[in-house]
Symmetry: C2
DNA sequence: CTAATAAATGAGACTTATTCTCATTTATTG
DNA sequence: CAATAAATGAGAATAAGTCTCATTTATTAG
């Protein structure tokens, strides 16, 4: 078993993310612009789903508010951005790249954190069967589903009131 | 087997709903006012979850906008109103009275209709187990959950574009 | 049943998230 | 590198929801 230890300077990480942002944009035939790169980098750096408020805060000195919303809409159009509303009514956004598996969300109703969670394959299978039943009963064609779980993260969380 | 056919005039139905609205309010020690009765009646009459826009339209000649929002907040406070955001970002509201069982929602992404659906007991049991696992893994206390299904209702729907 | 008081209402001003406009800047392409 | 189409920034416009305050209504104590 070989172990590699890789040290990367912060600037190198930024460069890698910037490159991958460029790649994502060109793969979707979207022109490569500075605001788009900055938004993608911020989303990648944060990792988890993020509220538009937080994103705006991170980018307030580099991307105009109107441009931020426009870029988010662009990313939605090419299907790499998922947008939803959290139970406390803030708009949350997350990047969905190829390696991002099917997942659901866990919301802390205190600090507002949103966490991606995967549920077991058996569960997803069972949900698929339920969905088939519903489709028949209601004459509905179901294209997508999501499970949202709402609760509280532990006291250790620094952001919880 | 005895069959009862019951004919009720429209006015009688309204009177029944009005009475039950009064009952609901007094049971929750909330003062009985005209706007509150009108909002409850409208929610009961519609039956399904309804967008605030539609509700506002139904009540625009009888309840002021500010009062409508205030009444909805009052109903949330006494835990008989559930509010959520549909995938097309409109705010949806539904009455949750004693006889309203645990359920989930089906959204038509075309006409915006929202339908209550119940899932099987086995499914709910399995979901409970998944939730227990998640609680442990993420050090999270899960208080509530919801399953949302998004799709299209059939062509027969008059409201679909 | 009525008067006194506390609570609720209506109308419209205010706030805040998101979209739109338009003059300027930037990316793409040939 | 120039021409052209697309994207951006700044701030105006829109719309959902909240707030203010003068007026009305419901509740209750007597």
């Amino acid at each position: 078993m070989r172990i590699y230890l890789i040290f990367l300077k912060f600037e190198s990480i930024i460069k890698i993310m910037s490159n991958s942002s460029r790649k994502i944009l060109s793969e979707h035939s979207v022109s490569i612009t500075n605001p788009r790169i900055l938004v993608l980098e911020a989303l990648m750096e944060f990792g988890n789903p993020i509220t538009i408020d937080e994103l705006q805060l991170k980018l307030k000195d580099s991307v105009a508010k109107s441009t931020l919303y426009r870029v988010l809409n662009d990313l939605k159009k090419i299907n790499i951005l998922n947008e939803f509303t959290s139970p406390d009514n803030s708009t949350v956004v997350e990047l969905i790249l190829e390696d991002h598996p099917h997942h659901h969300h866990l919301f802390c109703s205190d600090c507002g954190e949103v966490i991606d969670v995967e549920l077991s394959d058996e569960f997803e299978l069972m949900l698929t069967k339920e969905i088939e039943k519903i489709q028949k009963n209601f004459n509905f064609e179901i294209k997508d589903h999501r499970v949202e779980m709402i609760g509280l993260c532990t006291e250790e969380c620094a952001n919880c009131k």
